[in-house]
């Protein structure tokens, strides 16, 4: 689906993967974690309020 992140399955089996790949993979895991930490924060109420208020305005007004 559109919202589904393209996650690689975690490849285990250290013998099969060379060291550099393992490290790149580790960085990748960390990077996603970093991003997901923010994604998982609760959304401030402000966002929904703004959207609701804006919605009540006749369309076309800025």
């Amino acid at each position: 689906m559109i919202d589904e992140p393209h996650r690689e399955p975690s490849k285990r089996g250290p013998a099969a993967i060379d060291e550099a790949r393992l490290r790149q993979h580790a960085i990748g895991v960390r990077l996603r974690q970093m991003f997901d930490d923010v994604v998982n924060e609760p959304v401030p109420d402000e966002f929904l309020e703004i959207l609701r208020k804006h919605d009540q305005k006749p369309s076309g007004t800025e």
Partner: protein
């Protein structure tokens, strides 16, 4: 606005999907701006722009990529208006991403954030979209308005550079010996992949 042509049901479906994307917009905005407050301002602007432009969105296509493109365009057009902000970018980038208030956050997170901050912005952006945002190269190319091959090469250069930065410990750090960052990242990745 053409929004009038849309049915209330369509608007509702659009809004529901848009609301679901807010967390992702916030995360992407934070990687661009550096601090959580202006990131949320940016994410809110992008959200409203997306809402206003809803008539031009084809339901069923990739709304996440579409909103990310709006957010990115918004960010760069604001930046063009204020050149003086440019100098702050590097500094901001280093604070970027996770100003998550988590005392348990592993050291490696900080190191990675700093490493990211050292990458050229276009490489950082490409790596974040593909490596963290879950976008395909084609989608990232659309978001950034460049060729797929350009995104591929940016991501690959970013990965190599980040790896080198973390291995060398060539980023600014307070005393700790170089090489620790990579070890910490490896340990974290190990831990995370066992959790998942």
């Amino acid at each position: 606005m053409a929004a009038a042509e849309r049915s209330p049901a369509e608007d509702l479906a659009f809004k529901r999907e848009l609301v679901g994307l807010i967390p992702h917009l916030r995360a992407f905005a934070r990687t661009l701006t550096g601090d959580p407050t202006s990131a949320d301002d940016l994410a809110q602007d992008a959200m409203m722009k997306a809402w206003d432009a809803r008539a031009s969105y084809q339901m069923g296509t990739n709304m996440k990529a579409w909103t990310f493109m709006i957010l990115r365009n918004q960010f760069y057009s604001e930046k063009r208006r204020s050149w003086r902000q440019t100098q702050l970018d590097q500094e901001a980038a280093e604070r970027t991403l996770v100003a998550v208030d988590d005392p348990e956050a592993p050291v490696a997170l900080d190191e990675l954030r700093q490493g990211l901050g050292m990458l050229p912005p276009e490489q950082r952006e490409a790596l974040i979209l593909v490596g963290a945002g879950g976008f395909a190269y084609e989608e990232a190319a659309e978001i950034c308005g460049c060729a797929v091959g350009t995104v591929k090469s940016r991501v690959s250069r970013a990965r190599r550079a980040l790896h080198a930065i973390l291995e060398d410990g060539s980023y600014e750090r307070d005393g700790a010996p170089a090489g620790d960052a990579m070890q910490a990242i490896l340990a974290d990745a190990e831990r995370l992949s066992t959790i998942r």
